[in-house]
Each structure stands twice: as structure tokens, then as C-alpha cells.
């Protein structure tokens, strides 16, 4: 065996060990990402897919004091549903929705108080996928058609989903919709940049992954004129979301289930 070839094999072997070790570091880094600052964590960029930076942990803070100052505002809903070709089927049974408004007592089922601030009690709260850090929907999916990205976004593959609806049963927030019928006839005006779905698959909010890839904020955030929705990176201690969470009291939906939702509400 000539010397060069032996050297090459040695290097290749080392590289293989390096890659697998890197994967472990990746896992460890992910586990601790919430407590350590991103500067401390080892760069895992080389192991992640295109456009996804594992250093980031996307989250949203919703300031309920600012939200719905304007009576019956649905700007975030319209913007989201238009951007993502969400159909308006018009009956509760076959309904598809990514973001919607729910009574405070329904959104926070286990955090209701009898004599709480009236303004809050009567509040309609915008709810959508929580992009849980420990998502039960991902755990149960039999085909990995829903999965958690390195930056925390819970994604959906509409071409792989078999429509078993196990994820709907597993989601503690009712965030997922199923296409009981062909949605296309119910889309008023199709946005050509975004795919439409077929009947028989599950869908939900994807935190506007397609907009994030272009460096844009989610459509709902952009549409909110009251600036009640704040999107940012939890892993960056200087970020707007971290600042808000540091300064204000925030709640999350069903925190006791251990899903670790990444949507925070300021009350």
C-alpha cells in the first residue's frame, strides 16, 4: 500500500470519528441551549440543514395588553391565512385554521381565576402552534412527516403525511387541522408563492419558515399594527424576546405537561 493512500484512509477515519462526535456535541448543545449563552455553545452549524441555524431558537412573545385594543381585530389571522393559502371552508366540522382567537378561559384552561381583571377575562387570545421544545405531535408521528427543526420550528411535510391524525390526538393545544375535503375550492385568492394542500393531510402553523429563510418576520407579526406580537431568538440574551421576558411576567399554555411551549403571553 502506498504511503499517500494510507494517509488518506487515516484522515478519512479521523474525519468519520469527528463527524459522529460532532453529532453528540450537537445533541448536548441542544439540551443546554436554553441555559447557556450561544457564545458558549459549540458551533453546530456544519451539521444542520440549509437555511437552518441551530444557534437560533425561534419564539414569540404576545403582549395581551396591546393585542385587541382595536375591537375585533383579525389582521394577524387574515395575513397568515392569505399567505399560506388556508381555505375558508365555512363550517366548524371541516374547518382549517393556523391561527385564531379564543377566549382567555379556553386558551388558558388551567390558569383561570374567578375574580381576575375583567379586561383580561373578556380577552380573546390569539393561539396557534406553540412550536414546543418537546413536541408530542412529533413523538407520535409514524412517518416523521412532522419533525422539529434544529432551530426549534415544528415542521410539516404535506407530501409524506398519511393522514392518520395521531398528531392531532397528541397535541394538547388543538393547534392542528386536517383537510377533511379538498381545500382548493375554498381558497379565495391563491398566493402562488406558497403550496396549497391536498385533502387527507394535516397542517398547521410553521412559524413562516419560508419567510424566515428570506430574512423576513412571520406574516402575523408583520401584520400586527399594535405591535403586540414580537418574534425573536431565545438563545440570544440580547434579543427583543429575551428582554421582554426578563422585564415582564409571562405565562404559557399548559406548561405543566412538559411540552415547553415557545409562545409566551404577557398578561
Amino acid at each position: 500500500m502506498n504511503n499517500n493512500r494510507r494517509k488518506f484512509l487515516k484522515l478519512a477515519g479521523l474525519a468519520a470519528i469527528g463527524v459522529s462526535a460532532g453529532k453528540y456535541i450537537d445533541i448536548i448543545a441542544k439540551d443546554t441551549a436554553h441555559t447557556t449563552s450561544p457564545a458558549d455553545s459549540i458551533s453546530t452549524k456544519q451539521f444542520t440543514s440549509v437555511n437552518v441555524d441551530a444557534k437560533n431558537r425561534w419564539a414569540m412573545v404576545i403582549d395581551l395588553n396591546k393585542c385587541l385594543v382595536e375591537e375585533g381585530c383579525t389582521k394577524c389571522i387574515s395575513a397568515c391565512h392569505k399567505t399560506h393559502n388556508v381555505p375558508d371552508i365555512g363550517n366548524l366540522k371541516d374547518e382549517v385554521k393556523w391561527i385564531w382567537k379564543e377566549n382567555y378561559e379556553n386558551a388558558f384552561l388551567d390558569q383561570e381565576n374567578y375574580y381576575m381583571k375583567k379586561a383580561l377575562k373578556d380577552k380573546k387570545v390569539p393561539i396557534f402552534c406553540n412550536h414546543c421544545d418537546n413536541p408530542p405531535c412529533v413523538r407520535v408521528c409514524p412517518t416523521q412527516a412532522t419533525w422539529k427543526r434544529e432551530d426549534g420550528i415544528v415542521m410539516m411535510d404535506w407530501h409524506r403525511c398519511i393522514g392518520c391524525r395521531y398528531c392531532i390526538a397528541a397535541c394538547p393545544y388543538g393547534s392542528r387541522s386536517f383537510n377533511y375535503i379538498d381545500p382548493r375550492p375554498y381558497i379565495k385568492e391563491i398566493t402562488p408563492d406558497f403550496p396549497t394542500r391536498t385533502k387527507g393531510v394535516v397542517e398547521k402553523c410553521t412559524f413562516c419558515d419560508e419567510r424566515l429563510a428570506e430574512g423576513l418576520e412571520p406574516a402575523c407579526v408583520e401584520a400586527c399594527t399594535a405591535k403586540a406580537m414580537i418574534f425573536g431568538n431565545l438563545n440570544d440574551p440580547e434579543s427583543n424576546v429575551r428582554e421582554l421576558l426578563k422585564e415582564n411576567y409571562s405565562i404559557r399554555r399548559k406548561p405543566g405537561l412538559g411540552t415547553n411551549p415557545e409562545i409566551f403571553y404577557l398578561v
Binding site: 366548524l92 366540522k93 371541516d94 374547518e95 382549517v96 385554521k97 379564543e102 378561559e105 379556553n106 386558551a107 384552561l109 388551567d110 393561539i127 408530542p136 413523538r139 407520535v140 408521528c141 409514524p142 412517518t143 416523521q144 412527516a145 409524506r160 403525511c161 398519511i162 393522514g163 392518520c164 391524525r165 395521531y166 392531532i168 390526538a169 397528541a170 397535541c171 394538547p172 393545544y173 388543538g174 387541522s177 386536517f178 383537510n179 377533511y180 375535503i181 379538498d182 391536498t198 385533502k199 387527507g200 393531510v201 394535516v202 399548559k254 405537561l257 412538559g258 411540552t259
Partner: protein, 385 residues
């Protein structure tokens, strides 16, 4: 051996054509569901599993219950079940086929079902359910075919089949345990998230399955010369009694935990089932019927005089079968979704197409049982003469 299924009395053919007609009606409605989508069913965004998945759950139990005749015969050498084991195995095969069909008709994209195998996902219980159900089907096909083939040749079954039969016993337990895990591991659904779910499933399976087997034995006893023997029927009655005691016991434990702890998220599901919630009470009459049938049949079973009377036992079996079918095939699955995780009460009832499709799958099951039992009984009659 299939030739035995092609020769039969007029009654046999009328039954076969009756089942085929029901199957064809179901095929028609399924073609409509396939074209239009699951919107044709009563399922909704909030109640996303219903009649189909409930039938699956119930029938996994019937499939697993074959073990109640297999275990005494092969592990304890209990000879009285000699004529019944193969009937139990055929019942298991038919039930597993029905289970698989119910999964298929429930899928939004049935043509993509192969994705479960293309992207195996061990953290999904549905993946394991597919594995254990297919495995159980394969085991029972091998066992029943080998044993029946040996019977035809008037030879004892080959030695290698014994370990396979032994494996099939814990495997039967596993199919219903894994099916319970589909539900009991979901934090989102407090009604299902109970550790007693798997034991409860097994108990209800081991009473409803043998009850169905006994009903069928009584029917074929009436129309053919087949007789499993008085002792076998008596013992099966005793097995049903024990399992039914355990089943009722487990249900009462669920009640205690929910009502004594008084946690709203737990208690509200039980309120919906038995008393109605916020004016919604679709399931209330069903659940009380189920409860009354369960209690009456259990009392009758516990009195030896009635249990040993075959004429009464057949009605007890029917009552148990209906009671547990209501409990598992109607109430259990749907109530996990009602109220919803955001506290809303949304009703569900199956639509006509949904019921016809389900009926057709049951007819396919009975078709398989009829053909297999016909083969077995014709073969045995021929061996005698």
C-alpha cells in the same frame, strides 16, 4: 383445502351472498369517501378519531382473546379446548384483517400507507402497532394452517410449531397492550392517560372475545353436528366470568380516581359519558345501557346455576359482547376528544357512509370466519366418516 369452502348447503351460499352484498355496498361508499375525503364522515377538527378507530380498538381485543383458548390447551395441556383452539385462531385472523382495514379506511392518504415502512419511526406507537398486528396475523396464519394440515393427514402437528404457538401467547397480550399505549401515552387527553388502560383493555377483551367465540360455537352447534363438548363451554363461561369481574373492577377504579380527585380535566370526560355535559348527551343512553348490561350479565355469570345453563349463557354472552362493544367501540375513543383540549364540548356521530363502510368491514370479517370455519368443520366431518 379451499375446495371445502366451495361446496356447501343452500343456507351457506345464501349467507355468503348476503355478506358479499354488504361488502359491495361498503365498497361503493368507500369509493365515495376516497374521492371526497374523510369529510364524508362525522369526524371533525375537534373529534378527529371516531367510529373507525374505535372498531379497530375493539377488534384488537377480539383478536387477542384467541389466547384464552390457546393458552389453557398448549400451556396447561387442557384437552377440553382441543376442538376450539383452531376456531380461536381463525377468529384472531379475521379480527386482525378487520383491524387493518379499519386503519386503512381511517387514513386521509391511504395510498401513502407504505410510508410507515419506508420511514420506520420507533418513537411512534403506531409504528409498533403495525409491527405487532402484522406479526400476530403471520403467527396465526402459520399456526392454524400447519395444525389443520396435520389434522387432514391424521398426523400430530409437527414439533417445530410448538415454540411458535408459545410465542403467540405473549404476542396476543402485546397487541392489545400496544393498542392501549396508542392512547395512554398522550398528555393531551386526560381521559385516556391512565395506567389502567392496558389492563382494562385486556380484561374487556378476554370477556368480549370468548363471548363472541361462544356465540359462534352455539350457532355452528345448532346448524352442524359440531360439538366442542360440555366441559369446554363450561370452562369458557368461567373464563368470561373472571375477565368480566376484572373489567368491571377496572372501570370502577377509573370512576374512583376521576371523581374523588375532582380534577376538572379528568372528571369532565366521565360527566360527558354518563351524565352529559353542557347539554350534550349523545352517548348517555348508550353508556347506561352498557353499564346495565354489564352488571346484569356479571350477576348472572356469578351464579353457577345460570352460568352452567347453556341457554342462558348464550344470552349472557350476547349482553357482554354488546356492553363492551358500546364501551370500547363507541364511548372510549370519542370521549378522549370531548371536551376538547381547550374545554369545548363538540358532538360526534357517525354518518351513514361511515356506518356502511364499517358494516362492510365487519362483513369481510364474518366472511373470513365463515369460510375458515366451513373448511375446518367439513374437514373434520370427512375425517370422521
Amino acid at each position: 383445502m379451499l375446495e371445502y369452502a366451495l361446496k356447501g348447503s343452500k343456507k351457506y351460499w345464501v349467507w355468503i351472498f348476503f355478506l358479499s352484498a354488504i361488502i359491495l355496498i361498503g365498497v361503493y361508499f368507500y369509493s365515495r369517501q376516497f374521492g371526497y375525503g374523510l369529510g364524508i364522515t362525522g369526524l371533525s377538527r375537534d373529534v378527529s378519531w371516531g367510529f373507525y378507530i374505535a372498531q379497530l380498538t375493539f377488534l384488537v381485543g377480539v383478536a387477542a382473546s384467541g389466547v384464552m383458548v390457546v393458552l389453557p390447551y398448549y400451556l396447561h395441556n387442557y384437552k377440553a379446548f382441543g376442538k376450539l383452539t383452531i376456531l380461536g385462531e381463525f377468529l384472531a385472523i379475521a379480527s386482525i384483517v378487520m383491524c387493518m382495514l379499519f386503519v386503512c379506511v381511517d387514513l386521509g392518504q391511504p395510498l401513502r400507507i407504505i410510508n410507515i415502512i419506508l420511514y420506520p419511526t420507533p418513537n411512534s406507537i403506531l409504528f409498533w402497532d403495525t409491527v405487532v398486528l402484522s406479526g400476530y396475523l403471520l403467527l396465526n396464519v402459520i399456526i392454524s394452517h400447519t395444525v389443520l394440515e396435520a389434522e387432514r393427514k391424521s398426523l400430530p402437528p409437527p414439533k417445530w410449531i410448538k415454540p411458535i404457538i408459545i410465542i403467540s401467547i405473549p404476542w396476543a397480550i402485546s397487541i392489545h397492550t400496544v393498542t392501549a399505549f396508542l392512547y395512554s401515552g398522550l398528555a393531551a387527553r386526560p381521559f385516556w392517560m391512565t395506567a389502567v388502560l392496558a389492563p382494562r383493555f385486556l380484561a374487556s377483551a378476554f370477556s368480549s372475545g370468548p363471548a363472541l367465540l361462544l356465540i359462534m360455537v352455539f350457532i355452528i352447534k345448532k346448524i352442524t353436528k359440531f360439538d366442542p363438548g360440555k366441559e369446554a363451554i363450561k370452562e369458557l363461561g368461567l373464563i368470561i366470568t373472571y375477565a368480566m369481574c376484572a373489567n368491571v373492577f377496572f372501570i370502577l377504579m377509573e370512576f374512583f380516581t376521576a371523581f374523588y380527585s375532582s380534577i376538572p380535566e379528568h372528571i369532565r370526560h366521565f360527566q360527558y359519558l354518563y351524565f352529559g355535559l353542557d347539554g350534550h348527551n349523545t352517548l348517555v343512553p348508550w353508556m347506561w345501557s352498557s353499564a346495565i348490561l354489564a352488571i346484569v350479565s356479571l350477576v348472572l355469570l356469578l351464579i353457577p346455576k345460570y352460568r352452567k345453563n347453556e341457554k342462558i349463557l348464550v344470552w349472557i354472552c350476547a349482553a357482554i359482547f354488546i356492553s363492551i362493544w358500546i364501551d370500547k367501540g363507541l364511548g372510549m375513543v370519542v370521549t378522549g376528544f370531548i371536551p376538547t383540549p381547550i374545554g369545548k364540548v363538540v358532538d360526534y356521530s357517525p354518518t351513514a357512509p361511515e356506518l356502511f363502510i364499517s358494516l362492510a368491514i365487519w362483513a369481510i370479517g364474518f366472511f373470513i370466519i365463515t369460510v375458515f370455519y366451513k373448511i375446518t368443520l367439513s374437514l373434520r366431518r370427512e375425517l370422521v366418516t
